[in-house]
Every structure is written in structure tokens, then in C-alpha cells.
């Protein structure tokens, strides 16, 4: 018995050690590099870069696109995960694969696709022009691109959990006469709470950092269609190495803040749960 315990302890620390090493080299070092580069020319340069008028406008646009992406994908994630796991129908596998496609499409291609769909080459273009609607190289295009790249995140988190949970509880409540919405809120949702939270965080993180697709669709109009990652690229291309990193550090810190908040919510939530029991 004793022997076994020390055995599993050794396994534990080996695994924890590997994890630490991996996280340190792959995540913490790049993070530190960004922050060090950002501060290389001192605080003044940093503050100046971060509070620049165009930086602030870019930040607002990024937040706007992120908010849209989260709302849209939350609705989609809940509906699609529910549909896929709770019913049996033909073509389910194709539908699941289709939902995942946006993650695997190269962001550049994603942008290109939307340019082809709504840009001057498209048959829709004359109609859109008549209505005075600009999709590409305007804010709607940026939002579309952001929604596209984050499309599967929430449903992807929910599906495995719902699948593991099965449909028995829902079927039982349905037989007892509960409606779809009630089943969802009372029976299903408590199971997927944490997965849902993961999904939203993934979605937010990816949305604020999205670069490739947005870059193809934005037109890079300063103060109008520049998101924060694009602003970083432009600064970089203008030989403003340090300010570029300063602005990226905003994104990184934003991300870390969100991730830590999530961690805390989850921690408190789970502890309370156990207390109740």
C-alpha cells in the first residue's frame, strides 16, 4: 500500500514537472518576451503607445467585434450542441464537421472567402451598393470574420459533455411532460455550466487576438477599421518595434485577466457546489 502511494506520488510530480516545463517554455517565455520588448524603451514610450488615439479606437473596435462574436456564438453554440446531442437525425456527422470547418480554414482563406462573397467580384455587390451597405473593408466584415473564426468554440465545448451525459434525464423529464426550454434550463444546463464558461472564454480569447481573416477584410483604415492586432502589425511594419509590442501587451494582459477571472469564478462556483453537498 505504502509502496503504491509513493509510486503514484512520483508519477504525479513527474507529470506536474513535465507540465511546468512545457508551459514555461511554450507559454511563459513568449509572454515574458512580449512584455520585455514592450518595456525596452521605458515607461514613457510604453504609456505613449498605449494611450495613443488610434490604439484606443482600435481597442474599442476589437471589443465590439468580440462582443458580437460572443453573443452570436452563444446562441449558436447552445442550439447546435443541443440539436446534435439530443436528437438523432441523418447527416449529423456532416453537420458536426461543417461546424468545425472555420477553425481549420486558414484565416487568410477565410478572409478571402468573405471578400469573394461580399466584395466587388461578387454578384451580391451591386445590390449591396444600392442599399449603401459596405460589408468588406468596413466594420461588418470585421465582425463577420471574427464570428467565423470563433464559430465552433462554444458548441465544441458543449458537445462532448452533453454526449457523455446522454439523453436519459431529458427523455425522462420529457415523458413527465416538461417542455423543451424547461428541460434545457432545469436538466441540461447545470451539467454544461462549466463547459459553457470554457467556451465563452475560448471565444473571447480567440476573438480579441484574431488577425489573419480580419486583416484581409479590414482595409486597414486608421481609426476606422483597425482592430488591435492589426494596429500591432501596422506599427511593426512602420518600424515601430517597441510600440508594437507595447500594444500587443494590452491584448496579452486582457487575455490573462479574462483567463484568471474565469479561473476564479470556476473555483468559487465549484467550491460552493461542494459546500451545498
Amino acid at each position: 500500500m505504502d509502496n503504491k502511494n509513493t509510486g503514484s506520488k512520483v508519477t504525479k510530480w513527474i507529470l506536474v514537472g513535465i507540465s511546468f516545463l512545457f508551459v514555461f517554455v511554450m507559454l511563459i517565455l513568449p509572454l515574458v518576451t512580449v512584455i520585455m520588448e514592450a518595456l525596452r524603451k521605458g515607461w514613457d514610450t510604453y504609456i505613449q503607445a498605449v494611450t495613443d488615439e488610434y490604439t484606443v479606437k482600435a481597442l474599442l473596435l476589437t471589443l465590439e467585434a468580440t462582443a458580437f462574436a460572443v453573443i452570436f456564438n452563444t446562441i449558436f453554440g447552445l442550439f447546435s450542441a443541443w440539436t446534435i446531442t439530443k436528437y438523432r437525425f441523418r447527416g449529423k456527422k456532416i453537420l458536426t464537421a461543417l461546424i468545425d470547418v472555420p477553425v481549420t480554414v486558414s484565416p487568410i482563406i477565410a478572409g478571402l472567402i468573405f471578400v469573394l462573397t461580399f466584395g466587388r467580384q461578387s454578384f451580391l455587390y451591386p445590390y449591396l451598393q444600392e442599399l449603401n451597405i459596405n460589408v468588406v473593408f468596413a466594420v461588418p466584415g470585421i465582425i463577420l470574420a471574427t464570428v467565423f473564426v470563433t464559430f465552433p468554440f462554444i458548441s465544441r465545448e458543449l458537445i462532448p459533455v452533453l454526449e457523455a451525459q446522454g439523453t436519459d434525464e431529458e427523455e425522462a423529464s420529457a415523458l413527465m411532460g416538461a417542455g423543451g426550454f424547461k428541460i434545457f434550463t432545469k436538466v441540461t444546463f447545470p451539467h454544461i455550466k462549466w463547459a459553457f464558461l470554457y467556451g465563452i472564454v475560448l471565444c473571447v480569447a480567440r476573438a480579441i487576438g484574431e488577425f489573419g481573416a480580419v486583416s484581409v477584410l479590414s482595409g486597414h483604415l486608421r481609426g476606422k477599421t483597425n482592430t488591435l492586432p492589426l494596429h500591432v502589425e501596422i506599427l511593426f511594419n512602420e518600424f515601430q518595434y517597441v510600440p508594437a509590442f507595447a500594444v500587443s501587451s494590452i491584448l496579452v494582459m486582457l487575455a490573462v485577466a479574462i483567463l484568471i477571472i474565469r479561473s476564479i469564478i470556476e473555483y468559487i462556483g465549484k467550491r460552493n457546489n461542494e459546500d451545498v453537498r
Binding site: 508551459v23 480569447a205 480567440r206 479561473s263
Partner: protein, 275 residues
């Protein structure tokens, strides 16, 4: 039971309707426009474009590096998810919080940071240079960037399932005298393999298409370290939309097939598990 319970749960129509509407708007219509655009070309033209030596070489580079990177991510993802769910140790919350960092960091920034770390003047690169290993500007460098990009996928796919997994099974088997390795293989692995494979598929697909971070670390030498998305980019620079979309279509179809296969594997596993 399954057959009988086919549509017991209400609201099928509305859920399906909303799902399909949204999938069409975001995925199907745009993809269709890509296909329509490519259909301007004849099949032989497409074939000629995608079998040019340089394009083929780039496919090879992209597929090999993406595959290795996703494999590394699958193993590390399972280990990380396991450690985060099952063990308590200092700084756990912070590590858990950092997992999504690769998503939030703009890919170009990640690429520049990783390159400066792994070039032979950088912190990590200097260390490996002692052993004659070059990281930046080689395929190893590409793989490193792709590992970075793909970290969250497997971890976040496995983690929720592992959390739902009842530890009482393991305790039971432990009481019955099964060794740690055996418990892992026969009790835990079957449960977490399907999500791990999903994560692998997503990471692989994402890695295939990754551009922003890789161009900085790759060196971009034709036939050696030139990735397919870069070729697409250079076709676009030459205003050659047809070639660009043809190559893009190959990447897309591949990605879709991978996802489809992954879903098949997952469905099979689920069935074996008796759900």
C-alpha cells in the same frame, strides 16, 4: 431504448432550424462562393496548379509539421488536462489560466516573440545551438510555432470530460489491486481518447492553415521551409485569384476530411463504450 426514444425530447424543429440557419450564413454560403469561384477553372487547370513541384513541396512541409505538432499537442494536452484536473500544486490556477494565451496573442506577435527566443541569438536557441540544433528558420521552428498555436485545443477538449469522469471507478479498480498504469489504460484512456482525438483534429486543421506566426519563424525557403498558406499569399500578391483559390480548396477539402474522419472515430468510440 434508443430507437424508441428517437424524438421524445421536444423542440427538435426549432433547434435544428436555428442551427442550420446559422451554419448556412457563416459557413455554407461563404464556402459555396469559394467553390463557385474555383469552378471558373477547368479540372486540368486546377490539377496543374496544385501539382506544381513547389506547391507539392509546400504541402509536404505543411502536413508533416502540422501532424507532428498536433501529435505533441495531443500528448501534452492529455498530460496537462490530467494534471490540472487531478492534482493540486502551487500555481495551478495560473497555469490553467494561461492555456488560452496562444489564442489571444495575435499570431504575428507570437511568431516574432518565438523567433527571437529560438534564433541562435535567443535564449532558447542559444541553448540548443550548443548541440548543433537550429530551431528558428528550420522545420523544427515551424513545428514549435504550430505547437504554440495548438496548445488549447486538446487540453480544453479533454478537461471537461475528465472532470465529469467519476473518480469512484478508479478507486474501485485501485481497491481491486489494479496498478496505476493499468487503470489509466483501461478505465481512463477510453473515456478521454475521443475528446483528445477531436482536439487533435482541430489542432491539426488549425496548424495546416496557420500563417501569421509561421512566416516569421520559417525562413520561407522554397522547397525547404515554405508552407502552403505562404504560397496562397504569394499567388494573391500576383493577383492570381484562381491559383490561390484552387490551392485553398485543396486545403479546405483536406481539413474537412480530417474533421469528418475524426468525427467518425469519435462516434465509433462512443458506440463501443455503449452509449
Amino acid at each position: 431504448m434508443k430507437k424508441a426514444g428517437k424524438r421524445v425530447i421536444p423542440a427538435f424543429g426549432i433547434s435544428m432550424g436555428v442551427t442550420l440557419a446559422m451554419v448556412s450564413l457563416i459557413v455554407i454560403i461563404p464556402l459555396a462562393s469559394l467553390v463557385i469561384f474555383t469552378s471558373h477553372m477547368s479540372f486540368s487547370e486546377i490539377w496543374e496548379t496544385i501539382t506544381r513541384e513547389r506547391v507539392l513541396a509546400s504541402f509536404k512541409v505543411s502536413f508533416i509539421t502540422a501532424f507532428i505538432a498536433s501529435l505533441i499537442n495531443m500528448v501534452m494536452g492529455i498530460i496537462l488536462a490530467w494534471v490540472l484536473v487531478r492534482y493540486d500544486f502551487p500555481l495551478k490556477r495560473i497555469i490553467d489560466g494561461l492555456i488560452e494565451l496562444p489564442f489571444a496573442m495575435p499570431t504575428a506577435v507570437a511568431g516574432i516573440a518565438l523567433t527571437s527566443l529560438t534564433s541562435d541569438k535567443g535564449l532558447v536557441g542559444k541553448f540548443f545551438a550548443n548541440f548543433g540544433i537550429k530551431i528558428a528558420y528550420t522545420r523544427i521552428g515551424i513545428t514549435v510555432a504550430l505547437v504554440f498555436i495548438g496548445i488549447p485545443f486538446v487540453v480544453r477538449a479533454v478537461q471537461p470530460v475528465l472532470e465529469k469522469l467519476d473518480p469512484s471507478y478508479e478507486e474501485a479498480s485501485k481497491v481491486m489491486g489494479a496498478s496505476g498504469g493499468k487503470i489509466f489504460r483501461s478505465v481512463i484512456l477510453p473515456e478521454i481518447l475521443p475528446p483528445a482525438i477531436t482536439g487533435f483534429g482541430l489542432a491539426f486543421g488549425r496548424c495546416l492553415g496557420e500563417y501569421g506566426s509561421v512566416v516569421f519563424i520559417a525562413g520561407n525557403k522554397p522547397f525547404e521551409t515554405e508552407i502552403t498558406p505562404l504560397i496562397i499569399m504569394s499567388e494573391l500578391q500576383e493577383y492570381d485569384y484562381s491559383s490561390a483559390t484552387a490551392i485553398a480548396l485543396v486545403m479546405l477539402v483536406t481539413a474537412f476530411l480530417i474533421l469528418f474522419i475524426v468525427n467518425l472515430i469519435q462516434a465509433r468510440n462512443t458506440r463501443i463504450l455503449g452509449r
